[in-house]
Symmetry: C2
Amino acid sequence: MQRPADTPAKKPSRIQTRNRRRILEAALDVFSVEGYRGATLDQIAQAAGLSKPNILYYFDGKEAIHVTLLNAMMETWVEPLRRLDPEGEPLDELLRYIRRKLEMSREYPRESRLFANEIVQGAPRMRPHLEHGLKPLVDEKAALIARWVDEGRLAPVEPRHLIMSIWATTQHYADFEAQIAVLMPEGDVWDDAAAHVEGMFRKLLAPEAG
Amino acid sequence: MQRPADTPAKKPSRIQTRNRRRILEAALDVFSVEGYRGATLDQIAQAAGLSKPNILYYFDGKEAIHVTLLNAMMETWVEPLRRLDPEGEPLDELLRYIRRKLEMSREYPRESRLFANEIVQGAPRMRPHLEHGLKPLVDEKAALIARWVDEGRLAPVEPRHLIMSIWATTQHYADFEAQIAVLMPEGDVWDDAAAHVEGMFRKLLAPEAG
DNA sequence: CCGGCTTTTGACCATTTGGTAAATCCACGA
DNA sequence: TCGTGGATTTACCAAATGGTCAAAAGCCGG
């Protein structure tokens, strides 16, 4: 059997799980800074502490690694949005979402940049996932937000553009970290960012009092 | 003379200006989609309608083209920020800046993505420019905004994070266009974006009435 | 401690890619 | 019109890169 990876026939051995994890970890490092085409199997192999042919023993090729990474990551990436609770208090729900999203930018900047690279370059390997995985979720949550607005529990706002703004502002701190490192004075960038972003969206979303 | 490009000794011939322009135009197309390492001289050559060696006749190499593009672009890119007028009405000035920035995302998405690619990947070829070109300008304008806040002419806001938010939200529409194309319903995305972004920052920045 | 599997490696390949050298083409002013 | 310098092409490299293959090495239940 050539690809123990994809065939779910047998349970993967301990070595397999360990090495696959190592490879994905290394690949995340490399892909997230070099982009897909910029990354090389040699880089990944070296970062993983394995030989290049050995990596190709575990994955069907460079693209397979990339796709595996993107898919695995998209799950956790949209999780916070999925958690938007239709039963909750609208403003609380959205602010919690925003905080969580910013946290993820801080904790998983590599994942964010992996994604950013893919999208900036036209999402060549991810468009299907965007259409069938992300779009329905965004449609659903946009409808929810629209409902909240209709009910007067949120200030009027275009739901999809709100979501874009949240993504843009939060992910910016991960994706453009190189720029931020240059422009921001030393200090609690992340704390200030949290305060700023939360305050901004609170003002945007708070329904008119009275 | 090998490099009529860099040596300012003689005025460039008509052919030179034409071909250099062509090359840069083609390179912008390619680099903005593929990133630096993803782009190939063959792609650029083909897009420019020139042969590869001919391209290397006009530029010292792949990197020289990229750097030329980045530098040329940075000028126009920060121009709107430079225009923030200390004498103007703060809210008007900032909203005008925001509108202009969004306009530029619409008119020059390739430039925006070229820049995004470079920064996401750690700004390997642009850090000096960021430090010596962009940082002083941001420092200056951040101080200006801080002054406006102190004078009570803007709602309290952390100036640098405000600037980041403006960049994030406006450039997002260019940089993540592939995603937006999937998620947004057909229609005037740009008009809605303008309304949304302007409204958002107006709420954020408007000083307390009274 | 053996036999059969999983895993790993060294050698190798074809293609791509950035770049070069020299020959050729061509525009244009004297 | 003709020579000359700028512009262009043809024919190449050498290195990098994704990937293959068969042999070697390790691992592990019996």
